[in-house]
Symmetry: D2
Subunit: 288 residues, 4 copies
């Protein structure tokens, strides 16, 4: 059995105009590269164009460096922000957790079974509780307690790990700490948080208790990029579940765990498959 | 073919304690009345008890007045707010509309086909646009324009109709007007509004545009009782639909119409079937 | 205010190979035509390629006939089945109904309000019941009763109407009659039926009663193209709703009406927006 | 902090008639027992009555044995099948698995975190693959290979474990083996299987491949009691997920894993909370 062909993902953002798709598809075609997936979107409101194209490696094709060089003039012409990603390279995740482990367990399961094709070179927590399960997966566990006074130092150590371990994405898997503006800025568009409400409803603390107090009939969960504006970052994915008057706050919390796990896992997958493109404070998500 | 048996609905709210279900069921049983449905709920947070019991008419049963008299001592003992509703009596609805007709069309269709077993003795609008479709259904159409200056008078005419036509429920089927506090108070717990967002997100005007600006991945709709606190009334029902970056505000509006129609129709049905019991600023909904 | 620009929709099916997207996008670009939407899909299992591209009219652009002539060599080269549709032309629907009117009401409402931008030059029914509501919309109503003996003749009259009225799509909006193989063949890929079950479950008659007998916890509805193989035609759209043990067959029927209406309306919209491409006994649906 | 009060669950099935609820509620009330939850259902089609009532322990209350003795005459009078379950006793589960571990992982996680309050005295598999993860949870792993020739013996060993370990519920967490009629009979109404399709669609092997071949737009999963009639057992719970033409069979399989895990976990929870009552080949599920 031959291994499946290697794929590359070309992502593009630029001002919308005539001829972009033709230029991109023409470029790939001129190198006899076969497109397996392609999606684009022109935002009428902002005049921005977004594109994600997956193409297949072929024997004898130019190197990626050579392709990049050849593509540069097109990119220049259209004012593109663009990148060619190696789809077979496993992105490197740093997970930040606190004491709640449902999102962690879900991500570790998908990691362990290969459903989520990533490397996880470390898990950081401000509590020691989850060490055993993390280390059972062969992943180093970094217990970095944090207080108001030590936040800057603790975050510095995390950012140092992000650099040293070549982390592509930081995942706040119910980390329960508010990051400093410096940290948010340093991790811009590469740090995903799961908020346990259907944003923009119920920002801040204890959203399930807020939901209970308001008497909503549906609760939800939101995965978003972290920004300095708490719970206001660009939304990647949301999901909901029906509830009723019989649910206590604790039962909402329990029910919410399943939603949070699924929503965060999806958001991480969209990100690592380069399906998410920034669009101001919003996202374009070429989801399946 | 014998007609289906007549049913009655007993609704009860009172402080929770031991023996309420036994008293109610025992009372009905002592009159040889057959229970076809019964649901109750004790709110641990508030100590309130809520019950809805449906029982079937039988030949030779006491009159409802006699039953009420016989039940009064039980009600007294437990401090009940209670009511026996004739399930075969068609509740009388007054619909308030503006120019958008999707909720109106949906309700009229259900009315016309008997799916929603109600009387609709009138439709009020501040615009003339929907007269033809309303009158085609044989329903009087009352065009009552309103301005800031004439609000009090216009609302007075509506309230007069509510009285004169023995209206049980006022339905704001995209009425687009904010009711005065007096009007809200006069229609307390008998006026349902459909808000075109997933409350408490996106209160106020143009919620779909707000949703678009925020980049949410799911939109929704909320039916609630009208209170003086705009868009803060007790929620009866909500539903949602998935959207993505490609939806323009106008497309969200179009998509939302289907959700709004369904949510409002459900809320009205729950109300007229006496499935909704007030619980502070929340509702107990014994939904199916 | 200038009117919105006119759009055209190019649909393509052909064997998958390198360079198709480049050829199509290059062709449109060479005529300075702006692409507003484009989606394609390569079916690995069958090696077929499917594409739908929307482009915008521009002042001074070539006529569609000229574009077609210019595109023909590309189409030839790739072995394309292709078509350029005028997106502003309202497709012409013939609705076939029986006695149930929920799908009819829903489609007529969308027609009347412009949500479904179609012409409906006629409604055919084997019963007289729905004449009034149809004619109120200004649409001719054709009462064509049918028996086993008169089927051929009745279908002949319908097919004659399809021709004479230049019908693009026949919609069986709960028509309740099985079409003859000849009729199915004559309307291949241009006749949509709504089946009141989640196919392939509960084919044939009384699916809600079957669902009740089986004790399923979710019911659904399926819109599909009509083929000679009853209830086996290519599926366009499905939706579901949760139910439980308390629902009687009649209540399932009532609940199902809302699902059927929504699913059929979606399928019709996908079809008239040329979002559905045949793929053997399946469909590619470039849905939003 | 005082521990939460102990609860008991009274389940009843009997012919429907007047006075059952009164008798049950009156009985509990006469012992000053506080009802925290109660649901009942009369099946009009079969004339059977189903009830689940949760009541709270109180200091000085009679023993359960004494209550049972006191209740027996009522039960006799109404012809009840009935049981009083100790809600604080952890039911004992035996999990049967093969090589797929997503349902196993999900159940083990809920077990380990206390979300699913059960004992799991053993896991049986016909393959050795999942030994490590099971034993990490401190649960004995029994590798019992099976062939056509050894089925009777292998099943005998499992049934012996069911007896010896006082198993309340056997869970086929993607066990992939068809049980013999003897085994099915021995485990009647206490063996739950997860079938990876939306039954009754796609019975038998490779349902996701069947779903792909049929081109459905929604896939699902079904938890049901195991009977001799393969994939025809009483359905407890179902859930679905939307898919489209782009999903390969393998992707459907991957997507289905999340649905299967959730559906099986819910079914197990309903069962152990005694929310599921048999109703012929169907179930009454007093779900939340």
């Amino acid at each position: 059995m031959t291994p499946p062909a290697k794929h590359y993902i070309l992502t593009i953002t630029c001002p919308d105009t005539t001829g972009i798709v033709a230029a991109v598809a023409g470029f790939l075609s001129s190198h006899e590269l076969f497109i397996t997936e392609s999606e684009h979107f022109g935002d009428v409101a902002t005049g921005r164009f977004f594109m994600r194209t997956v193409f297949q490696e072929r024997p004898g094709m130019p190197s990626i460096a050579a392709l990049q060089a050849a593509f540069a003039p097109f990119a220049e012409r259209f004012g593109m922000e663009w990148h060619i990603h190696d789809a077979t390279r496993r992105p490197r995740l740093l997970l930040l957790v606190s004491k709640f482990d449902h999102c962690l367990n879900d991500l570790l399961y998908r990691y362990r079974t290969g459903t989520l094709p990533v490397e996880i070179p470390g898990v950081v927590s401000n509590h020691p509780d989850l060490q055993r399960v993390v280390e059972w997966h062969g992943i180093p566990y970094h217990h970095l307690p944090v207080t108001r006074d030590t936040r800057a130092e603790q975050e510095g150590r995390i950012l140092e790990m992000v650099d040293r371990l070549h982390i592509d994405l930081v995942v706040l898997a119910r980390y329960m700490q508010v990051l400093s503006p410096q940290m948010c800025a340093a991790l811009s568009w590469r740090c995903i948080n799961i908020h346990h409400s259907f944003l923009p409803s119920f920002k801040g603390a204890k959203p399930y208790h807020q939901a209970h107090a308001r008497g909503v009939k549906i609760i939800g969960s939101t995965a978003h990029y972290v920004t300095t504006d708490l719970d206001e970052g660009p939304i990647i994915e949301q999901a909901v579940e029906r509830v009723d008057h019989t649910h206590t706050p604790d039962e909402l919390v329990a029910l919410g765990r399943d939603i949070e796990s699924v929503v965060l896992a999806r958001a991480v997958r969209y990100h690592i498959e380069h399906r998410v493109l920034p669009n101001g404070n919003k996202t374009v998500v070429f989801r399946r």
